[in-house]
Amino acid sequence: MASEARPAPLAHHFDDYDQQRESATLGMWLFLAQEVMFFGGLFLAYTVYRWKYPAFFALGSNQLDVPLGLANTIVLIGSSLTMVLAVRAAQLGKARQIAGWIGATMALGTGFLVVKGFEYHHKWVHHLIPGAGFHIEGTTDPAAQTFFVLYFCMTGLHALHMIVGLGLLAFLVPKALRGDFSAENHNWVEGVGLYWHFVDVIWIFLFPLLYLLGRHHA
């Protein structure tokens, strides 16, 4: 059990806390770099297919609920704020605050996923799931499904990342309450924070690309 006088343990292969912290941060940034490439492939697919089928993409986008998307965007950016405040609390060595802000982040993140669940259900009810049962007002061209293939792949992958993020946050809470994080060693909080912000950045792009197409012609 860490007391105020005893710093959190330094891993045996590191020389000092600075080296450990800088290594952890660099490692997480490299991981995020590969995440950029991972999502990037989907963004490429989006770009190619939107360039090929602009009308179908606008048609598909108009099926999405902008107020819900806006609400989710606000919720997710809010969760980024609570997350960075959790990291700040860790930098200042305030154990209880860390847990509190992480809890807030988890609540907001869960709210996002609940709304997403409603949206997915709506698509199911309106036959907008790609596949045999797909049907959309305005065209019978099978290429119209492309928008929804990308919608589900991109938001689905994003949601998967959020679920993993929630799992990581849950893992952090008992550690925070136990006092495992100190000002010198809170790399876990910092790392999960970077991951969470990255997931937010992806949504920042998904929102306009999926929800706001063709609205200026309405």
Binding site: H13, F14, S23, G27, L30, Q34, F38, G41, T146
Partner: protein, 546 residues
């Protein structure tokens, strides 16, 4: 002179003696033990992939498709490619030699993230077991390239399982690369500046960049193939507005740089072998170091040369063709520099050096034929023929595997603390070189004459070259078997290795063979350049405008 590591004989137990039992291996955080775990695993996959190759060459000894049906033959070459590329070649040098040596070469106690390193091995094993499971239930017939719509719509067999297996193994690769980059940046010993690093380290740095930035793109490509197959959606299906070529762009964006994942580490080994066995500083250290980075970056700009005849635009094809010429330049720079290092060196033809010299020869052929294939006009004619097969086997088997074997032999005393038998190792090296060239050179001729790849039957006029190739494969197979025998034998009966059996420079040779758990008795401080060999004859300064 580096600060000598205390060599008191009873000072520290080696990493092999420090703990015993299965848990000490399966739950280890020691990068050296993890390197051994990979060594065992990739060797098993090499044997499996090799078995596929034996069956393929047996079938191809006769023009008729009489041993296997077309479908079974398709599965054979597919599984051969998948096992060899994803589960042998890509991990080979980085995960075995890189894992073991990188921390020692820079004077660190371990990699930056030891637990992540073990996780990488488990991810590799999970992916490998899934693919092995797929193999046991018939494998897949799509070719290792998974082209759509074959892989998404028409292929029978375990596409999903294999795809997921490769996906999981890909994360092993990404995390290893991540670990290496952080280690090299943050954990070098005092005095180990960037330009004192062994070129083996530079090579692995460049490789790690590719692993981190390239692998996720093939991961998403595979994920989309799986999604299309599982959910019957049309990501790449023209019926639903999809484009099969999009898959190829995503696939080759990784799979071209992937070949540099396979060759760069071997080139890193080469720099170590050529300097040690000519007892000479490398010629043009900076050129070799930076050429690794150039290969890594430019290697990302050329993937379309795999797609010249797939439907890609001619304009894009021309751009990719031009850039492909560029990527050959840093590779050539390395060959020139190694050759210049050999010149007036004090050469000793130990087994690792035999592999190194063999590498230069086969890489020359493999690399030059690569330039030929990068040329748009030539590739139109030889694409999907045995010319391609010969080219990539020259670079992947001839060069990369010879680099791996050269490195394995060079560092075997360090890793195991034992010397192997020099006579039999030379026999093995010779048989591998002869067997390899006999197997694959005729395939250039076959391809040029028009024999297509991935066919198990062919016109009778191609038989002579095919028989020659299959005969070579037999020699090659025997050649590969010999090291297995004497290396395993050496573990029990080989002479105990001293700390520096080759008299080579490098921090790894300053510590015991095998090293203690945290690599050094006292943390080293570096004060000299890499490859600081003193030559016996007074050096005649030859400045060639560098």
């Amino acid at each position: 002179m580096t600060a000598p590591a205390t060599a008191a004989p009873n000072a520290l137990p080696s990493y092999l003696e420090a703990a015993h039992g299965p848990k000490s291996w399966l739950l280890t955080r020691d990068h050296k033990r993890i390197g051994i775990l990979y060594l065992v695993a990739i060797s098993v996959f090499f044997v499996l992939g090799g078995l596929m190759a034996v069956l393929i060459r047996a079938e191809l000894a006769t023009p008729q498709g009489d041993m296997f049906s077309s479908d079974v033959y398709n599965r054979l070459f597919t599984m051969h490619g998948i096992l060899m590329i994803f589960f042998f070649l890509i991990p080979s040098i980085p995960a075995v030699l890189g894992n073991f040596l990188l921390p020692v070469m820079i004077g660190a106690k371990d990699l930056a993230f030891p637990k992540l390193n073990l996780t990488s091995w488990y991810l590799y094993m999970i992916g490998g077991l899934m693919t092995f499971g797929s193999l046991l239930t018939g494998g897949i017939d799509t070719g290792w390239t998974f082209y759509t719509p074959m892989s998404t719509t028409f292929a029978q067999g375990q596409v999903l399982v294999t795809a997921v297996g490769i996906f999981v193994a890909g994360f092993s690769s990404i995390l290893t690369g991540l670990n290496f980059i952080v280690t090299i940046h943050r954990m070098r010993a005092p005095g180990m500046t960037w330009f004192r690093l062994p070129l083996f380290v530079w090579a692995h740095y460049a490789t790690s960049i590719i692993q981190i930035l390239g692998t996720p793109v093939v991961a998403i490509a595979i994920l989309l193939v799986g999604a299309e197959r599982l959910f019957h959606i049309g990501v790449f299906d023209p019926k639903y507005g999809g484009d099969p070529l999009l898959f190829q762009h995503l696939f080759w964006f990784y799979s071209h740089p992937a070949v540099y994942i396979m060759i760069l580490p071997a080139m890193g080994v080469m720099s170590e072998l050529v300097t040690a066995f000519s007892r000479k500083r490398v010629f043009g250290y900076h050129f070799v170091a930076f050429s690794s980075l150039f290969i890594a970056v430019i290697g990302f700009l050329v993937w379309g040369h795999h797609m010249y005849v797939s439907g890609q635009s001619v304009v894009a094809g021309a751009i990719f063709s031009f850039l492909t010429m560029l990527v050959a330049i840093p590779s050539a720079v390395k060959v020139f520099n190694w050759t210049a290092t050999l010149y007036k060196g004090s050469i000793s033809l130990q087994t690792p050096m035999l592999y190194a010299l063999g590498f230069i020869g086969v890489f020359l052929i493999g690399g030059l034929t690569g330039v030929m294939l990068g040329t748009l006009g030539i590739d139109i004619h030889v694409h999907d023929t045995y010319f391609i097969v010969a080219h990539f086997h020259y670079v992947m088997v001839g060069s990369a595997i010879m680099g791996y074997l050269g490195g394995l032999h060079f560092w075997w005393p360090k890793i195991t603390g034992r010397m192997y038998d020099e006579f039999w190792s030379k026999v093995g090296a010779l048989l591998i070189f002869v067997g390899f060239n006999t197997t694959f050179f005729p395939q250039f001729i076959l391809g040029y004459l028009g024999m297509p790849r991935r066919y198990h039957m062919y016109p009778a006029e191609f038989q002579t070259w095919n028989v020659l190739s299959s005969a070579g494969a037999t020699i090659l197979g025997v050649g590969y078997l010999i090291p297995v025998i004497y290396l395993l034998w050496s573990l029990k009966f080989g002479a105990k290795a001293p700390a520096n059996p080759w008299g080579a420079k490098g921090l790894e040779w300053q510590t015991a063979s095998p090293p203690p758990v945290e690599n050094f008795a006292t943390p080293p401080v570096v004060t000299e350049e890499a490859y600081a060999y003193e030559t016996s004859a007074p050096a005649k300064e030859v400045t060639v405008g560098v």
